[in-house]
Symmetry: D2
Subunit: 186 residues, 4 copies
């Protein structure tokens, strides 16, 4: 049966989690659309623009099965943005959705999830469809009208029959950068 070719999202690589009783995985969320917000707590554009937008998304789509996840993708000032500081930041900014700390890689300033998704910087966002594919990925903040339209489309998509049975589907990606051959072209 012919299918439209899509890019299956790689799995998250997270150390500490906040605002969730248990770690989250995209594999376990298959069947639901997921909005991933990549940010750094000392990134002015994140604080002024993307975090307020994510909070609006939570409010407007709170009655749906959209899952919002923040990933703290520190790629600079690592000592300045420790989990201790992140915890206080989430408290002060009233961020209630699950936030994971992107896992550092030994020989790189860029943490692993950020590498896997080939994110250019912060803020970035990735919208993942019910089938686990990347619907949209963007560096910067898009207008609410466009973001709302994309989320609505992702929410309305039919759930494929095997959507909740995805064991091993993204195994090939667990090693890292397989989806994005050329980082520079991201």
């Amino acid at each position: 049966m012919p299918t439209i070719s899509t890019t299956l999202a790689p799995e998250l690589a997270v150390g500490d989690w906040f605002n969730t009783p248990a770690p989250l995985t995209l594999a376990a969320l298959r069947g639901r659309p997921v909005f991933i917000h990549s940010f750094q707590l000392l990134c002015p554009g994140c604080v002024a623009q993307s975090i307020p937008q994510v909070q609006r998304i939570e409010r407007i789509f709170g009655h749906t099965d959209l899952q919002v996840i923040g990933i703290h993708t520190a790629f600079e000032h690592h000592a300045a943005m420790s989990p201790v500081t992140l915890r206080a930041f989430l408290h002060e900014y009233r961020i209630k959705h699950p936030v994971g700390v992107d896992l550092a890689e030994e020989h790189s300033d860029t943490p692993i999830t950020m590498q896997r998704f080939a994110l250019r910087g912060t803020p970035s966002s990735v919208l993942i469809g019910r089938d686990g594919s990347i619907v949209h990925r963007v560096f910067g903040v898009e207008e609410d009208l466009a973001v709302g339209a994309r989320i609505a489309m992702a929410l309305s998509a039919h759930i494929p029959d095997d959507a909740t049975n995805t064991s091993g589907d993204d195994g090939g990606c667990s090693g890292g950068t397989c989806e994005v051959p050329s980082r520079g072209a991201a």
Copy 2:
């Protein structure tokens, strides 16, 4: 065959048109989603909030077949908001989409289209689906995320087979307030 009951939108009642070579009718637009913006040029909330939102809608959805229509629904200060003033207003605010002047009724301050759609005041907006039904109607300005989501859903709806053959479909509504038995409860 059972169908979901919907409210067919009444027809527009317009005197002068601006920014269009010919008058528009909802009947002729059947098959396309339509975003109707009801405003008054001396309404502060229209100038500060809803008109900028409509202009964002035009920009974000300009590549789709959404039709944006402004209706100048003056229900007060009639002498102050004549078509001469409206024409200059549209020029100064760079409003390029079709705008119709809601038709006055002899014995009422509220013009006819405003009555037909049971609009409570300005700004208001009405989203009409491809099948000619009212998808959403609201007094005031909603958040862009929600507006974008609704427009996306209206755009994605399948066009019913007979969508472009709608002669007479809304004839019963041409008399006015049939859809809204109690104006005060709108």
Copy 3:
């Protein structure tokens, strides 16, 4: 006795007045600082920026003897911005300070007060000191910090001994454009 050379403000030339029981003149206001706001009701920058700033000025300096005056200096779309429309505009935008309609001149689109003060367009503002001189004149909207600083300085200025006895002081200017030899250089 040597004095610092200053530019005495020309007199206002106003037809209809709103929000005042009697016409205002700068001559009669000598001794008080005056903030003149030149606007047009169909000027987007006036509605979005300068009118809100003037309303902030009224609120912050309401306990002082600063006099705020609006002058409706229509230099285009004259038929669209009649006094009838202006009256409704002032009502809808909750403008409570005195507003005068700049007097039209027979052979010019630019009204007389606008010419006398050599204003380049709308919005413009003119700050007049206690001695009747022009302290500052600007086309566009300046930052509140700077505007607040200038008004504070104008308020703190000592009133010259003869400040309230100014009969004839600005007689030479009543004819019009004497202060501004070259309009184009304004």
Copy 4:
């Protein structure tokens, strides 16, 4: 000789300084107006409102002898807001004026400068006159028009004859809270 009674500002108590080659003291700044901005890097109101205002103050009054000083008055989340994090914060937010880290006191969460000035929280600001007295002190962010007016008045004040010879003037205050008998009433 009778003088108007004023509240002499207490001295700053600072550990690390950033953006200055040498520590600053109010004693050494006597003769110049000083705008002190008390903030915390994880305080949302500081990031969204008061820091942008301070940067506007720097721009508008940059040609004057006003001295702007930031004091990082952390009174909560101390581990989360270390000097390492503050240094990165100042870099990312492009803060160029001198910033001092308020000195912690052994048995209090509230640091010493914050106690001396009886600040209620962050953001706060203190405007100090040329004579070293406190002109204005406020918790929260005031409107730019009012802030601009106050700074202009502080700038225009005559420098008292002995303003630059202040050795010992504020010695009585170096111990701490002498100016503010009742902290609770601040």
